[in-house]
Symmetry: D2
Subunit: 363 residues, 4 copies
């Protein structure tokens, strides 16, 4: 199904950017899990448009209302449905979109896929706004996992070629993850972050946009979850990550750099540590071997393309008349989706991990 992720838990996402509401149904979430709504709101707020020039000027509360599966502050075990009303919609900004297909956007492909019947206002079901219900799901999953010690955090690794320091997964701990997540602009190296903000604002001032990379880590995932072949942790995470608009690449551990390495460099040697646990000295494998967690931190990086909606004039096609035209995109758009994508990547990883954890004997 297009908008349902089916695994041990399932995530069914619905809604269009300018319809009455968007939302999500989470099925098979464990019963009796306390969900701190304040904490959940903070997670959602990290995805909401920023109050600075790095993001769209669209303002919405985006606070989810829970319609089912939740009673007295706890999950009931039956489907957990949340919806988010669409309130601040400016549909008139999109008037000329249905005819002129935006480069880099799904206007053209969506029109073919749905024979022109899909709601194109604000990107419709293809809008980045649909990551809000994904964040709700991820925020719920995160709370359930954190109660079991599993923490996931992400930061902006790169924006338009400007690089933050990479996560050192061997030494990162819970406090560093929590700190990274609470930043307004989540980077490890503040100076680099300032440089990125400046670059985004510059691109924005020219009516342009920039791409970047989000890096994510999960600690304390017990060894032994996931399966070989099609149900490895990588497969599950990938099937969610590629559900986030604008993603063009995903890598685990050293990722594409492994193409420049020898086996003797890349292999992570095992040893029994002082606590009597089997661990590896390095973490090139990113915490996953044969699709299964090794107990080492899970690390991954996600590439996001520059926001396709730029205000610079672009050559494109009028689908209804099949002729070439010049497009001037209006509407409010993020000059860079990466800052707002940080919690979305965390959400996807949390969902995958919770789903696999349900197979864990001592969950």
């Amino acid at each position: 199904m297009s908008s349902i992720w089916n695994h041990n838990i399932s995530v069914s996402i619905f809604g269009e950017s300018h319809g009455p509401a968007i939302g999500v149904v989470l099925d098979n979430v464990p019963a009796g899990e306390y969900i701190d709504m304040d904490k959940l709101s903070k997670f959602m707020a990290r995805r909401a448009p920023k109050k600075n020039k790095t993001s769209t000027q669209r303002r919405e509360k985006d606070m989810p209302q829970i319609m089912s599966g939740f009673l007295n502050g706890k999950t009931t075990g039956t489907p957990l449905c949340a919806f988010i009303n669409n309130t601040d919609t400016h549909s008139q900004d999109y008037k000329n979109i249905s005819k002129l297909v935006r480069p880099g956007h799904a206007d053209y492909t969506g029109a073919l896929r749905y024979s022109g019947f899909n709601d194109v206002r604000g990107g419709g079901h293809f809008s980045g706004r649909l990551t809000a219900p994904l964040c709700f799901a991820g925020a719920v999953a995160a709370q359930i996992l954190e109660r079991r010690g599993i923490y996931t955090g992400a930061h902006i690794l790169e924006v338009h070629g400007i690089k933050d320091d990479a996560i050192d997964s061997i030494i990162i701990d819970r406090d560093q993850i929590v700190k990274m997540r609470t930043a307004e602009f989540p980077v490890i190296n503040e100076a680099k972050g300032a440089e990125m903000i400046k670059d985004i604002e510059k691109a924005s001032s020219f009516g342009d946009s920039v791409g970047g990379i989000v890096e994510c880590v999960s600690i304390n995932v017990p060894a032994g979850i996931g399966s070989p072949i099609f149900e490895g942790l990588e497969n599950s995470i990938a099937s969610l990550i590629f559900g986030i608009p604008a993603v063009k690449g995903l890598e685990f551990g050293v990722g594409f750099n492994c193409a420049r390495m020898l086996g003797s460099e890349n292999n992570d040697e095992f040893f029994v540590n002082d606590a009597g646990h089997i661990v590896t000295r390095t973490n090139n494998h990113g915490g996953i071997l044969g699709g299964i967690s090794s107990g080492m931190p899970i690390t991954l990086r996600v590439a996001f393309k520059p926001t396709p909606s730029i205000s610079k004039p672009q050559q494109t096609v009028d689908m209804s008349e099949m002729k070439n035209e010049t497009l001037n995109v209006k509407g409010r758009h993020d000059p860079c989706v990466v800052p707002r994508a940080v919690p979305v990547v965390e959400a996807a990883v949390n969902i995958a991990l919770l789903s696999h954890m349900l197979d864990y004997p001592n969950f």
Copy 2:
């Protein structure tokens, strides 16, 4: 399910490296499709160990026997099962593996996942040998797709930092794809290929291994297949690609390079071409927008880590006694999996495309 890929078609893979047989069941393949067994054998042969020093010295016919779903040279529409006998197994090479976990391998994680009951001989169900049934499935899919004009081909883009020329997806055609696929060592730039072979042999002579990247392209995929969110072409392809052992990364179109680009550079402008079709001038998007094919060639790259089984001594752990040990891996191993992985990547892409094509109205 661990070893079943469920989509419009399903692929169920079974077997262990040193068990009686490995195989695959393909469900919901269209009825009445002629399968040229000779052509299929040639596809399989591309994955088989090479007769040179770039791969394992293990020799097997690896020719699949079809057990069901096939009559008078055509698919019947009911489950298509093929199996491949394991004949040339040297299980004694693996005697010390069950105690000493191999770095970079799934020995440790698999033992935890299956409480020590999994068959570890030759990697068992985690073995790269399990890509043979995947190739069978992909070879069947390829023939069905090629009958409809859709051709997929891949080459070795990089080995241990040595780079082949990249595919130019704007100009590549069927003949170039077929030529690329028939090469003994599939590269575009022969000189670079020779350099790679030399590098692999060098690593091999030191008992080491190297990683690399496979680049793949599919042409003539009609615009409009795939869906937003969780059932995009990227999600489907990713869920299969990460089922190939040793994969650490996957990117589409410009991939991770989009993190260094402006929107105005990355967006592919549309225009109506001389034939009256809507196309893009550039193909940074790699043929997929919003999870849906644009009609442009689909391009992707897959990173493979260096073969973890190297003959250099490595530090590791004896799981049964929980103590640190030195491991000397025996057995026959590819010093680089990339050459043999080329058809496996094609297979995965063909399976995903055929599955999505079943939704196409004019299939």
Copy 3:
């Protein structure tokens, strides 16, 4: 997943009887299908509590609000979500339920399944009220199917041993089906219907309830949809029908009566009719052979148990104190669910048929 039916289309049901809202997400519904909301409301109204003594005195508009997947009167092809607010809830009626488990109800089994965290008010997610979103889904499916000539209708075949005439599937036509569906109390033989109503009222007057059977027929389903083994029409219909609370049995064609027949009596002989079509003279097979439609009307019967919530005193257990107690159920309950179950059975059949029809080449 508990509350998602995954097939070519998927149906995700959420909500609890006394929560804020119940609803449904339909995924993969074809794009561009006009939905007549007035007609849809009439379908929903058939399931709503009747204004006579045969059903609960609970009164609710139960009119669904569409939140997504619908624009300008037509489906968009993206997830179609509908909400139904819960307004007329009397939760105080259920105060003693959480302690005393109601015989014949899911109070006991639900408490074990969800470790006591599930919402028990009004039956929670187990409530017959959750058939309202199923009816929404079925009403949408019915409109799409009727546009292609496929009509489904059901009637009350039996209530507490009083039998209506059976459907003659060989002669039934569209007009008879439409007429049957528009009746206040849908029976073929009005006299028998009057007798049933009297019997239900009598049982109700004693604080008791009665069971019954719904019989359903679908005409003009093209021959050749469905598949052998696990994806036959019977399997799909069964997986939905057993999702309706209170169902205890399901049979197709002659059903259990085939246990009293010879092969020569049961086999339906084929012949080429005057219109040049292959049909059968009799329809003991109920329109399905080998899981696949034969083109003959699809017939089935569903057994519903008497409403477990009766006001007669019953012996039961106080789970919290593990002691035997006497229960007096309060609250408003249908003395017989069968009349309101008629459109629910139709809904389930329409959903299954639409889903299989998506595989039909000329859909």
Copy 4:
């Protein structure tokens, strides 16, 4: 997918009656489960043709060869694949089938579904022979469940109107179940069994066949497995049972008889028994409430139609020439499938129960 049952475990069935082999892949079976092959063979033998006149004269060893997922007598946790070679095939008996469609068979519907490309010899993938791999899967599941005290057994409740005594699920115990299963012709009342055999032989002597009912019970299923709506035990069992050829009906507990009962008769009152467990005095609900096990024995009945292949002349159609013809079926057929269907029903129930049990916290 047509021939894959996907749940916590999955069952993928392949093969045609007269192809090289039939078989099954079981995915996600727990690791480390000892499988007694002798016991498994005995289970399979119960489905094999009987050495008397109640069944086909086809003789096959039907002993499965395990190809994967099994080592040192135990499951490995990876896919368990078993093959059964087809040896005693008389394809010439089926020569005229491809033109004249057999009444009551899937010849006509299968030809439409697969555009005439399916293997029709011996019924191909529609053959009752495909229940052999289902029995393999069920026999494996049964051994895993019995180790946890869960026993399932079935008997012939009715053949051509002759009725055996019904199972008394309140008193039945493990010994009675085991005894029932070991009988050559599994009935409770031997006199009735003798009468049935006589009736089957009589029908056979006239070239005719008879239908019947199988009744099945499972004891010691813990309370609390299964889920509401679409993943109840009834839904799961139904989705498997309707995968058995010739099934026309399925009911749980009192089943269709509930249509003749009052709520006060049908409700099973709870009480705390001497052992301190919550149980019910009667078992009209058949061990399932709201889709979830109550801890009481699970009871169900399955109706099987008379074997459609009878040797009496029948009117039918020549599909290739679209004209009416008389058919004389040759080949070896069971005059009644019910005796051989007994272990098949048990197999289906065992598979469903094992799959749900994987969710049980203390499994």
